[in-house]
């Protein structure tokens, strides 16, 4: 017989679940939980400086580990602050369990101090949520929260626990089993046979791989399928790394900032094998004109994605890795010489143009230089904006689960805390966070967390004193009326970092950038690298929002522009 408080039950169940690190901030309504946590010998608590930071630290851990990771916040502003990180996890299908404090049961609905309807507010941005009404319920709710976050298409689960429930004493006979993911759905083998026949008959097939392929650890089998059947692959922003960028079958990222040849190949394909993707508008451009000649095979673990935006000729509900493995022996080994030659021709005539990639004072050059100093174990996080797209285009994505970026929600401020989380999930590895001066300001306070925890995080701030992607859109689509996107005040990021107690390097007027980056990467612990860039730099090619992917602006070679 056990006799525990609700708070002790939560901590006990987190330990039994295998949680060894979590992030959060204490406050009035989760103090009983924090008191219980202080007695844990197993769980390391990472004290963030803003609840959104705590949420993204948990996300950084989960995106590396593939398991649900945990963040804590108090009621009211603690809960509202963490909501952005929860919504971000929902859109990118990241497994996470967020535990919030709530005012005591009897005060719910009275507009008590720091009371908000956390349950009501988080319904649309969680996979599932709970408002726990008794300590005994926690024995069921906590394992369920982990099971749900981890099963099928992963996602965030929020558990709102009133303070008196945390303090309530209960007796119970035995601890429940930890939450485990449900088995992936069994897929229909008749559909599989039909899919294989369709692939074998296709003249110009393409893989379209997304975050679901990464989640399912399907990168290896996808690469072997692409090799065996002579099928090139495009990847979404979330799918980068599924097939290495340098692999001959890889066409890199599709969509708004894809290489020209990538989007043009999609125009010509006659069969699109879409796996772990959701036909997001940044990937497809104007949907009605996406892959106009193609039949669709859509493989996803989430039934509701099939036929949501584009009707599939064959829909297979299953784990992408399982489905690809089952498909492998049914797919003919084919050279597809004609199609692969056509792909190479597109590559030659419409290459990815990266101006300045040999010059470390330009964005592409800086990313290429950093990449040359990092191995395939290095983890890259980004914030959101031009630097994110430059990195997506220019960084050599070598392995799955090395690329952490806010894809669906596009949250500026993601990169630094996610990098801190990643450094805990992958100790000993180098984590590099590419950021911009706009994004880094949105969770700047987490520099303190990185220093306090000694996280092995290298933050590269590309500084153009501008919200660059906004400026670019104003230039292109708003008559060059650049408004509210240029900062008038210039921040000294080197001194800011040093003020947080962090090592800082400045690439401004640096004679040997390679040596500077080498030192920054190799000295253990956190640092910030300030990288001034020209505000006139642009991300090209670009598909205007709402346009078809074939209608790209910029990024032409001269040969192509004259054609």
């Amino acid at each position: 017989m056990h006799r525990k408080t609700g708070a002790e039950i939560i901590v006990g169940l987190l330990e039994r679940q295998g949680v060894r690190a979590l992030a959060g901030i204490p406050g009035g309504m989760n103090l009983p939980l924090y008191d219980a946590l202080s007695h844990s010998q197993m769980i390391r608590h990472i004290l963030a400086r803003h609840e959104q930071g705590a949420g993204f630290i948990a996300q950084g851990m989960a995106r590396i580990s593939g398991r649900p990771e945990v963040c804590l916040a108090t009621s009211g502003p603690g809960a509202t602050n963490i909501i952005t990180a929860v919504a971000d996890a929902k859109l990118d299908s990241v497994p996470m369990v967020c535990i919030t404090g709530q005012v005591p049961l009897g005060m719910i609905g009275t507009d008590a101090f720091q009371e908000v309807d956390t349950y009501g507010m988080t319904i649309p941005i969680t996979k599932h949520n709970f408002l726990v009404r008794s300590a005994a319920e926690l024995l069921e709710v906590m394992p369920e929260a982990f099971r749900i976050a981890w099963s099928g298409r992963p996602g965030p689960v929020l558990v709102d626990v009133p303070k008196d429930v945390q303090n309530q004493m209960v007796e119970f006979d035995a601890w429940p089993e930890p939450g485990r993911p449900d088995r992936a759905p069994e897929f229909d083998h008749a559909d599989l046979q039909r899919a294989a026949a369709m692939i074998n008959a296709a003249q110009r097939p393409l893989f379209y791989l997304g975050g679901g392929a990464i989640q399912a650890n399907a990168g290896g089998v996808a690469t072997r399928l692409a090799e065996k059947a002579g099928i090139p692959a495009v990847m979404t922003l979330m799918g980068l790394g599924a097939i290495p960028s340098s692999h001959p079958r890889s066409l890199g990222m599709l969509g708004m900032h894809a290489a020209r040849h990538t989007n043009l190949a999609l125009e010509e394909c006659d069969l699109l094998i879409a796996a772990g993707v959701r036909f997001d508008d940044r990937a497809t451009g104007r949907l009605a004109q996406f892959c106009p000649k193609a039949k669709i095979i859509h493989i996803d673990i989430d039934l509701s994605e099939i036929d949501k935006l584009r009707i599939a000729q064959i829909g297979i509900i299953g784990n992408v890795c399982d489905v690809f493995r089952a498909l492998f022996p049914l797919v003919d080994a084919l050279p597809r010489t004609e199609w692969l030659e056509r792909i190479e021709e597109l590559r030659r005539t419409h290459p990815m143009v990266m101006p300045g990639s040999d010059d470390p004072s330009t964005p592409y050059g800086l990313i290429r230089l950093a990449a040359s100093l990092l191995d395939e174990e290095a983890i890259i996080t980004t914030d959101v904006g031009q630097h994110q797209m430059w990195t997506a285009q220019a960084y050599p994505h070598r392995r799955p689960r090395r690329w952490l970026t806010s894809g669906g929600l596009g949250t500026m401020g993601f990169g630094l805390p996610a990098a801190i989380g990643a450094s805990f999930a992958a100790p000993g590895r180098t984590v590099v966070s590419f950021s911009g001066d706009g994004s880094i300001m949105m969770n700047l306070q987490e520099l303190a967390t990185a220093v306090e925890e000694g996280a092995n995080v290298k933050v590269i701030v590309m500084n153009n004193n501008t919200l660059g992607l906004v400026r670019q859109q104003q230039d292109l689509f708003y008559g060059q009326r650049v408004f509210a996107s240029r900062f008038r005040n210039r921040v000294d990021f080197v001194r800011i970092a040093e003020g947080f107690g962090m090592r800082a390097y400045d690439l401004a007027d640096c004679a040997d950038p390679a040596d500077l980056l080498e030192r920054a990467f190799h000295e253990p612990g956190p640092c910030l690298v300030h990288a001034p860039i020209d505000a006139a730099e642009t991300v090209y090619p670009m598909v205007p929002p709402g346009a078809a992917n074939r209608d790209m602006i910029g990024g032409e070679t001269h040969a192509c522009a004259n054609a």
Binding site: Y119, H128, L303
Partner: protein
């Protein structure tokens, strides 16, 4: 279909075609929010809603009267993903559950005592 049924409810005579969804859900506070929130968020109109606990109390039944649109299958799939939704069944518009409600909806509010008159 009873001939006296008012247009606003009679699915066969309403502007668009209707369908009736029968949801079996866990009976606890918040389930209605999850279901209604999903339809609202995905911009799928709910024309009518009925909810009562089932006899043993552990489960509830929610009846939804919805427009028959191309997106109905998609919204059903999204509904099935809700953790507290145990089962979803789709019925034709003439399912009797909404038919007998006419007397509660057929007559406009008496003007006496309404806010507009005060």
């Amino acid at each position: 279909m009873p001939a006296q049924m008012p247009d606003a409810i009679d699915p066969s005579r309403a502007a668009g075609r209707r369908a009736v969804l029968e949801l079996t859900v866990n009976n606890h506070p918040g389930v209605m929010s999850h279901v209604c929130g999903l339809f609202a968020r995905r911009a799928y109109n709910v024309e009518g809603i009925l909810c009562m606990p089932l006899p043993e109390g552990r489960l509830s039944r929610i009846w939804l009267l919805v427009n028959e649109e191309a997106r109905l299958e998609q919204i059903i799939r999204q509904t099935m993903k809700l953790e507290d939704v145990v089962r979803v069944e789709r019925h034709a518009a003439d399912h009797e559950v909404f038919v007998h409600l006419e007397e509660f909806f057929g007559v406009a509010l008496p003007s006496e005592g309404t806010a507009a008159d005060n």
